[in-house]
Symmetry: C2
Subunit: 232 residues, 2 copies
């Protein structure tokens, strides 16, 4: 019996790519800067895994995602020859706090919340996730993050820590994510799994491969379909 749903956020709940491109475009307009903003967004996001790995292998102490994002942003602005002040960099870095939800997300979460405890389970820090939810109207019951466990996903401490803090057994907790690697790690820790297909996450030209329907406990087209399949 599932009692709680933990949601991956970037890509699963919010459309990070279109939102960051929008923020970069506005930044460019404000500062008279031009660049290939879609590519800039992709490069910014691509810096995320190697930066987390520097934390994971002990090269960096625990670092919140906001600070990992900022480090990569400074490099990318430098490479693009764009010079702005620290206040403007901080403001742009908070683009990740202002991501728009996929069109089905708020309605789907609102339905799912009637039956289950719904929480974030993201590598984003608590303040990022809290600010995002406030702006986007995401109706979380609570905001849980890798930051609380001192480990980034896919470390098993995050999945097990989430179950423990919610006071449910791992098998009573379902991870909802658009990324098979996240789901596989959750399953290895004993969680139930729901894959949600987000064909536009990487932009229109890079659709993800949809896993076989048998691989995860649920495979859904979006959060409305997930609510239907979970009988809400």
């Amino acid at each position: 019996m599932i009692r709680a749903l933990a949601f991956d956020v970037f890509g699963t709940v919010v459309d990070w790519r279109a939102s960051v491109i929008r923020e970069l475009t506005e930044f460019g307009r404000r500062n008279g800067a031009t660049a290939d903003w879609p590519r800039f967004a992709d490069d910014w996001r691509a810096g995320y895994v190697p930066a987390m790995n520097r934390v994971r292998n002990g090269e960096l102490p625990w670092t919140r995602l906001d600070d990992l994002h900022r480090g990569r942003l400074v490099e990318l602005l430098d490479e693009a020859g764009i010079t702005v002040g620290n206040t403007e960099i901080d403001e742009l870095n908070r683009a990740w706090h202002r991501l728009d939800p996929w069109p089905d997300a708020v309605a789907g979460l609102t339905r799912l919340k009637q039956r289950f405890v719904i929480t974030t389970l993201s590598n984003g820090n608590v303040s990022l996730l809290t600010n995002m939810a406030k702006r986007a109207g995401l109706p979380w019951d609570c905001v849980l993050s890798a930051e609380l466990f001192g480990h980034y996903k896919p470390d098993r401490e995050v999945y097990l820590g989430c179950a423990e803090i919610l006071d449910v057994a791992p098998g009573e907790l379902m991870l909802v994510a658009a990324h098979p690697s996240d789901l596989r790690a959750a399953r290895a820790a004993g969680l139930a799994t729901a894959y949600v297909h987000r064909p536009l996450e990487q932009g229109p030209d890079r659709p993800p491969q949809r896993p076989d329907d048998s691989e995860f406990d649920v495979t859904a087209d979006d959060f409305r379909d997930l609510a239907d399949q979970l009988g809400v």
Copy 2:
């Protein structure tokens, strides 16, 4: 400038005493047990500070409030000569997850949320606070707890940890509480403070003394008055 409000919960947001008496009365009816339930509720609550102090002085390892509550409950049932099974004890112990808000709480929080990040900052564990909010409709932006910091209030780690995780300066965070001791500890850690008067917290016969209006940054009659005074 205040950016976030952190709320003490037991007594400040919810009427623990009337709710626990209601739960005990229902428990008595279900199990054919009688006792002085108001006094039982007061004794149960009174066990909370000495139990936390056993954690604070290292006699006990970190223990979530649910487990501190349960330990005292077992003692009190024993003293009252009431014998029930573990399932019934667990169910009764979760009375603390089912506390009713003061009549102004949901409306006041909903107003305050328009302007500020609003979070719990309670000695209750995250699952207790999450279940309570879900049942009572408390519109928190996030659920923070002593559990996340491994310290109980009034240890300063809790107040400073709350500011850090919200990514605000201590002076940008205001503790809202009905208890001067909690507010004094928050102030010593650099937080702003708002006292809310809850004359019925300890029952009709034990009204708390209202502190002088000059002691805290704000002194309010309830959450609506707090919203008025904060200009929301």
